[in-house]
């Protein structure tokens, strides 16, 4: 039997090869047949979940909440030392220096990443800005968000921190971060569906056994998860979901 492993569509494009390498090494280590699915959008991911086609999913924390509480998925593991953070940046020459310098009516570019938007909205609160106070400019990529900020077409852009830090040096030199989150406790999680409950431990053990091994560590390095993964139990997942719940409004 082949299990479908879905990777949430919010990873940086240069990590694409890494996820395929991970799928290969996980199959080898666990003895499980895994089929990697990399949906192009959050909507495509939601449809695959709703269709019951996803046996294991590397989910962003925002989606993990409903997958666990509504779809019965169980948390298996999470990356060590790789929390989901975001950056709000403006043009290097902008008169803005802090989030509090943003005013109602300001223009902010962002991609279709719910976690980034959610955390970003919370970081705008000290400026007394709500979602309705901002003119949102949806873009397809973080590079596009960067270009808009640099050209002054928006006052600021939202970035997944990892994506911001992997922009070219030339690009980041033309940007000025107003804030970078340091939430620490919010991470992606590997979830498994109850229909693969009997195999979940094998998948987890394979994942946890990657760090420091000749075949596993290069894959982790490629994914930017140098510390590897740690096991996650039900209460760990529930704790993070409670935490996400506090950030919804």
């Amino acid at each position: 039997m082949t299990f479908n492993l879905l990777i949430a569509p919010d990873f940086a494009p240069e990590r694409f090869a890494g996820w395929h390498m991970l799928n290969t090494v996980l199959q080898k280590k666990s003895g499980l047949a895994l089929h990697l699915i990399t949906p192009a959008s959050a909507a495509e991911q939601a449809q695959l979940i709703a269709d019951g086609k996803v046996d294991a999913v590397y989910a962003n924390p925002f989606d993990a909440a409903s997958m666990v509480r509504d779809n019965g998925y169980q948390a298996v593991a999470r990356p060590l030392g790789k929390s989901d953070e975001m950056v709000i940046a403006t043009a290097a020459g902008s008169p803005l220096n802090t989030v509090e310098d943003l005013r109602p009516g300001c223009r902010i570019a962002l991609t279709d990443n719910k976690d980034v938007k959610l955390i970003g909205l919370r970081l705008l609160e000290p400026a007394d800005l709500t979602e309705a106070d901002v003119q949102w400019q949806m873009v397809d990529t973080y590079q596009a968000a960067a270009r808009m900020a640099i050209k002054g077409e928006v006052d600021a852009s939202f970035f997944l921190a990892e994506a911001f830090h992997s922009l070219s040096r030339l690009t980041t030199a033309q940007l000025k971060p107003l804030i970078e989150s340091k939430l620490a406790d919010i991470t992606h999680v590997l979830l498994t569906h109850p229909r693969m409950a009997a195999e979940a431990a094998r998948l987890r053990d394979a994942l946890l056994g990657l760090a420091g091994t000749p075949e596993g560590q290069p894959v982790l390095d490629e994914l930017g998860i140098k510390g590897g993964f740690e096991a996650m139990n039900e209460e760990d997942a529930e704790f993070m979901i409670d935490l996400m719940d506090t950030l919804l409004d």
């Binding site: 609160e125 000290p126 406790d185 209460e235 409670d242 719940d245 950030l247 409004d249």
Partner: protein
């Protein structure tokens, strides 16, 4: 276990006696110093059903001025600032006790008598249909809200004192 009285700080301070929602009281010392909210961070804690701290993240520990060992096992009211009216906390406990989410602006007291403002959200931890504890997450509040709520809390405190 009721909280022990605060140690008098070295810098100039005023002495207050605060009464917690469970009826216990504590002597605290308050300076006028405000500590800035740490940028980009969340302050996270968990308590049991009685409001006793079971978890505090690094930001919580750092900002409180206490060590983690001094915090865990103590009532959450260890952060209670005398400028906070009782009604605010009653609303918190009534709301989460009913299984709902609570939001509010809170002035917290540090070990050294200084204070910091937070925008707090508390949620019940519901496991298997039962509330087993509470999680509270704080974010950075806006200066306008702090000023607005300072004035509101002053009024509430005046009412509470007049009724005492």
């Amino acid at each position: 276990m009721p909280l022990s009285d605060m140690q008098k700080p070295d810098e100039p301070s005023t002495e207050h006696r605060v009464t917690h929602h469970d009826g216990t009281t504590r002597t605290v010392y308050v300076t006028q110093r405000e500590i800035a909210y740490p940028e980009g961070r969340l302050i996270i804690s968990r308590t049991d059903l009685d409001g006793v701290l079971t978890h505090a993240n690094d930001a919580f520990v750092e900002l409180s001025g206490y060590t983690r060992e001094e915090l865990i096992g103590q009532p959450h009211a260890i952060l209670r600032h005398p400028d906070m009216p009782k009604a605010a906390f009653k609303d918190l406990w009534d709301t989460v006790g009913a299984g709902k989410k609570w939001h509010g602006y809170v002035k917290n007291l540090r070990k050294d008598g200084a204070h910091y403002w937070v925008y707090a959200t508390a949620v019940p931890n519901i496991r298997g249909g039962k509330t087993v504890g509470y999680t509270s997450v704080r974010r950075k509040p806006s200066r306008r809200k702090i000023e607005e709520l300072s004035a509101v809390y002053k009024e509430w405190l005046a009412v509470e004192r007049s009724q005492a």
